[in-house]
Structure formats: structure tokens, C-alpha cells
């Protein structure tokens, strides 16, 4: 698949943007896993759309200005990026952290988005203070976290021995940036829950049936906060269904976006 990557200057940040495919524009906001630019999911989307994948500040090759510390900051940078690229009335897909970013963006500029697909998004908290909505990926061991994230943990593995020092450094940096944005409040913005009713775009929530990071009940409760949102599950998948079961995820996403692409 032919993809091209460039940089766009937004204020004091350099944002990495990967584009692939042809057709109407579609924005894919990657998860913290940052493997969205490759694989069957993006290839499937690229058959119908020009898929635009921006790396959030501090992720991939995007720079991270000192002052950016919240997912709210990421959302504003991404909105400025769409301004710069002159993309309006566009469908957005966001997964996990990317889903949170997409939800933040859509509360700020609701009319900018034609469709919203949120795949196992984080970003809100429902439970009482001492109950966890989202598994604590920093308190648990990496082996336990992998088991919660992936239905088949083999699919989540990375062979660092086959990676260059630069690639390993980028992976480490992605993890550090995730902590910078999501350490406290843990994986959520207490305000977001009260703003989600501003979203006007038809919205689809997709949830991996075996997501151990944030369960299906959490997903359901999240979807209820956006008026008219649909909720579907993906079999044989954990927290990243688009990476773990791209075929099934694509089928649902294609059906939902059909009206947007044609």
C-alpha cells in the first residue's frame, strides 16, 4: 500500500501526517498502540477513502511542546490540523486514546464531522472514586496488561530484537507521552462526560467483546451519552478490535460509513 508521510506545523508543534488511499477524506486517529498506519484495517479503508492519520503530539514523529499536558490540548491541535488541511464535513474514526481525542474534538466543533466511529474509546469515568472504570495499565505488570488488551496476546507482541534503536526509542516515547497525557486524572477528562451531548454527527461505538481494559458495560454507558449513538461489538477481539480482527471491524465500519463515502 502506498502511503506518504509529511509534517504540518501547528503553532509550535510539528505534526506527522500519514496519508494513503484515494477517495473522500477520512481521518483515522490512532490508538496509543500506534500501529494503525499499517495492516489490514487501514488497507481496507484506503480502498474507499483517502485515509489521513495524524500522530498526536509526542507520538510517532510528532513533536511535543512543553505546554501540552492534556488530551484537550491534543484535540485542539487536531482541529487546527483539519483547518490547515482544509478538511470539513469529514468522517472520523478514533480508537482507544484516539477515540477519546475524537470525542473531545466533536464536542468542540460538532458540525465539522459527518460520522463518528469510536472504537473502545476511553476518556470518561462513571464509577465511584474507589472503583475502576479502566484497568490501570501502569499499576499492573506488562504481561497482565497485554492479556487485558488482546484477546490473542500473540497479536499484540512486538519483537524488539527486530527493531532498530530508533524504532525502539519511538515506542518508548509513545509510552511516555501516553503517561504525560493520561496519568492523572487516569485516562479520563472529568468534564467530557458533561459535554458529549453537544455531538451531532451520527455516531457508532464499536467494542471488542474481550476488552479487558474497559468492558462492554463501560462502552454501553459511554454510548448512552451521545444522542442516537449505535453500539456494536466485534468478536474475537480485545481493546483493539480494528487491529486484532480487522475484517469484522471493517464490515461494520463500511456499512456505517456507506452514506458518507458515496
Amino acid at each position: 500500500m502506498a502511503a506518504n508521510t509529511g509534517f504540518v506545523t501547528i503553532g509550535d508543534a510539528e505534526i506527522e501526517v500519514t496519508r494513503c488511499g484515494t477517495g473522500p477524506a477520512l481521518v483515522l486517529l490512532p490508538s496509543e498502540d500506534m500501529r494503525e498506519a499499517n495492516g489490514a484495517f487501514v488497507e481496507g479503508l484506503a480502498r474507499d477513502f483517502e485515509v489521513i492519520i495524524p500522530s498526536p503530539p509526542g507520538f510517532g514523529r510528532s513533536t511535543l511542546p512543553d505546554w501540552m499536558t492534556t488530551v484537550d490540548d491534543i484535540a485542539y491541535v487536531m482541529l487546527s490540523l483539519l483547518d490547515r488541511l482544509e478538511i470539513g464535513n469529514v468522517p472520523v474514526i478514533g480508537a482507544s486514546l484516539g477515540g477519546w481525542v475524537a470525542a473531545e474534538m466533536a464536542t468542540k466543533e460538532p458540525r465539522r464531522f459527518s460520522r463518528l466511529v469510536l472504537i473502545d474509546p476511553v476518556g470518561v469515568k462513571f464509577a465511584e472514586p474507589s472503583a475502576r472504570d479502566i484497568a490501570d495499565i501502569w499499576q499492573l505488570s506488562p504481561a497482565k496488561v497485554a492479556a487485558l488488551r488482546w484477546h490473542d496476546i500473540e497479536k499484540g507482541k512486538r519483537d524488539t530484537k527486530a527493531m532498530s534503536d530508533n524504532e525502539v526509542a519511538m515506542m518508548v516515547r509513545d509510552q511516555q507521552s501516553l503517561a504525560r497525557f493520561c496519568w492523572e486524572p487516569y485516562m479520563h477528562n472529568p468534564k467530557l462526560k458533561h459535554r458529549l451531548d453537544r455531538i451531532t454527527a451520527p455516531t457508532l461505538f464499536l467494542w471488542g467483546e474481550h476488552d479487558g481494559i474497559a468492558g462492554i458495560d463501560y462502552g454501553h454507558a459511554y454510548s448512552k451519552l451521545i444522542s442516537g449513538a449505535a453500539f456494536e461489538t466485534v468478536a474475537d477481539a480485545g481493546h483493539y478490535p480494528h487491529l486484532e480482527n480487522p475484517g469484522a471491524t471493517l464490515n461494520v465500519v463500511r456499512a456505517f460509513l456507506g452514506g458518507a463515502s458515496r
Binding site: 501502569w138 499499576q139 499492573l140 505488570s141 506488562p142 524488539t160 530484537k161 534503536d165 525502539v168 526509542a169 518508548v172 516515547r173 509510552q175 511516555q176 507521552s177 501516553l178 503517561a179 504525560r180 496519568w183 492523572e184
Partner: protein, 390 residues
Amino acid sequence: MRAWHFTEMPYPHYPADEPFTRINLPNKHFDPKIGADLYNRYLDEYMIADELGLDIMLNEHHQTPSCIDTCAPLSAAILARQTRNARICVLGNPIGHRNDPIRVAEEMAMIDCISRGRLECGFVRGVPYEIYAANTNPTETGERLWDGVDLVVKAWQAVDAPFNYEGKFWHRRSINVWPRPYQTPHPQIWITGSSDIETTKRVAERGYVFANFLLPHEKVKSLFDAYRANFVERGLPGGGGVAYMPLVHVAESEAEAVKGAEELRWYLTAPRSEPHLRNPPGYAPINANVAMIRQAEKGGGRAARDSSIDQLRDQGILMCGTPDMVVKQIKRFYDLVGGFDHLLMMDHAGFMDHQRTVKAMTLFAREVYPQIKDLPRTQPVRDARTAAAE
């Protein structure tokens, strides 16, 4: 050379069948009656150190039986009143984890006044697993340490009028610390460091004492050299000096000293922490993490916990033996690292009882200390670049 008595105030009496992990060992295993005895015993030993002519050092950790001094300012306040001569070093205040640095400035100023100017005020970034107890964002602890230190110093020095502060981490409309510290302009500041040369230079630039703990002499030398060289480059005179902490045990025979050293070694071997809690994201620099991943691919490295008594003694992490042997080990270390000014002695750990602790401390004070007291204060050194320019 000044010598300092130090214990982490351990609570070693958790059940033998419980894995001892920092942060997560349930506190049902803490018996307050045993704890009460331990606190009072450890404070008594600090008072004995004072009577023996030693200085005293305190620290704090959280959520761990390896150290039940969870609030160094509290123990320092008690000892400020109960000791007479010892200098009292809090090493240190985890300022980045304290949500109110001005409160720390007040606590330290008060202790300095009660002790009539015997406080040495240390600040630390905090060990990695401490992040999980404090919840501080691990990507910000370095920045918070320095912002916090600068704010405390400013609060101590701004004596003419209240000032406001609106920084990245803290906001105050009116800062006006009563009391002022007893020492003018303020107590000597100490900062710890174990790897980062840039931090070391920063400590030197400000004339603070630089301290490190339980490291092999090659590593200590590289850090001390960076500290001392920076004085010359910045044109600063003298400076705060450097401090080093080994495990120390003195006894009448070598065999007895090794027994004591084995008890001290508890500190290196008993407290465990889960690997990921030792490396929260953003605490260590990216290149250090890449190196760790590469090391893990090869099967990992050797930790101090796996070293023998002889290996530890050779590295200078442990100093033990008869008084004359320990004098020799201190002088050898002094020569290997280019000199140091403060011997911070972890001379108690784990299950070591009161009798052995006091016996070793007494022997040190009477027979070792007089032989090292006059080791010359270390001086700034010229590094190659400065020397070439002259």
C-alpha cells in the same frame, strides 16, 4: 570529613511467607505496637549518635516496610528538640511529590529555628516506585523537583514583602514564610543524583551539596568529577561539597564485622519491587530505556543484591571490618573518587538489633572517626577543557 548516622527505620517483621514488595504489601502486616517500639528505638539511637559526636541523617519513603519514616520533617522536628549538637540532614524532602512547596519551606524553617541552625535541607526527586504512592506524573518529576527547590529558596530569601507565584505546577497569591530559617540566608541545600550528569552540574552551579548512595566507586567518581569540574567552569568558589553513602559496620573482629554486614545486606536483598514499578514511563530518559530493553534481550544485568560481601566491599558499596580496616576502606574510597566531604553511614538495616547497632556506632565514633575527620575538604578540579584553555 563529617560522619552521619542513618537508618531507613525499617519494619522487618512482616510474615516470612509474604513476598515483600514495596508499595503493595498490605498494611495489615504492620503491628502498631511493634511499630511504636521501633520508632522510639530508632529515635533513641539517633540521640546516642548525637552524644557520640556524630551527625544524623533522615529520609522518607512511602507504602513500604523498608522505611516507616514516612515523614522526615516529623522525625527531624523531634530530633531538633531532643539532640544538642548533631547537624540534622533531611535527605530529603521529595519536593516534587509535595503538593505545597511553601508548606515544606515552613516546616524546614521551623526545624532550623528549633535546632538553632542545625538543619541541612535536602531535596530529592524520589525513587521510581515512589511515583505510585504519590501519583505524581512520572514525566514531570524532574521538572517539579527543580521548580519546587527554586520556589522554596525564593520563599526563604524574599524577606521584604510577600510575593505571588503562578508557575507550571503551583499557584499562590501571597507567599510570606514565617518563620524565616535560623541560618542566613538559608540552610545548606543538598540534592541527590545517581546517573544524570546534567543534574549533577545543576547542583554544582547552585553551590548545593551533591550526594549519592550505594554506588560503585567508578560511577561515584564520574559523578563527583562532573560536579567539581562545573565549579571551575562557572567560576564558583568551593561549593557545597560531595557526600557518599555506603553500608558501614565496625566490630572488634573481622568475623564479627562480616556478621553485621550480612545483617545490613538485608537492605539490598529483602525489599523487592515489581520491575515495572521500578520504571514508570517517563521517569528514565528514552535512551536509558532503549539500553534497558537491549540489556533485557541479552538476559539482564547483575544487581547489587546479587553481589557478595567481598564484591560489595571492593566497589565501596559496603565498608566493614575492624576500626583500622574501615579507616583504610574509607581512605581508599576517598582516593578513588577524588575525595568526598560527608560519609553518610547506613549503619543500621533490617533486623540488626539495638545492641549491635549502638556497639558499632560507638566503635566508629571512638576509633574510626578521629582517623578520618581531618581528611581535607575536597576542592573544585580543573577538567581537561579548562586546563587546555589556560
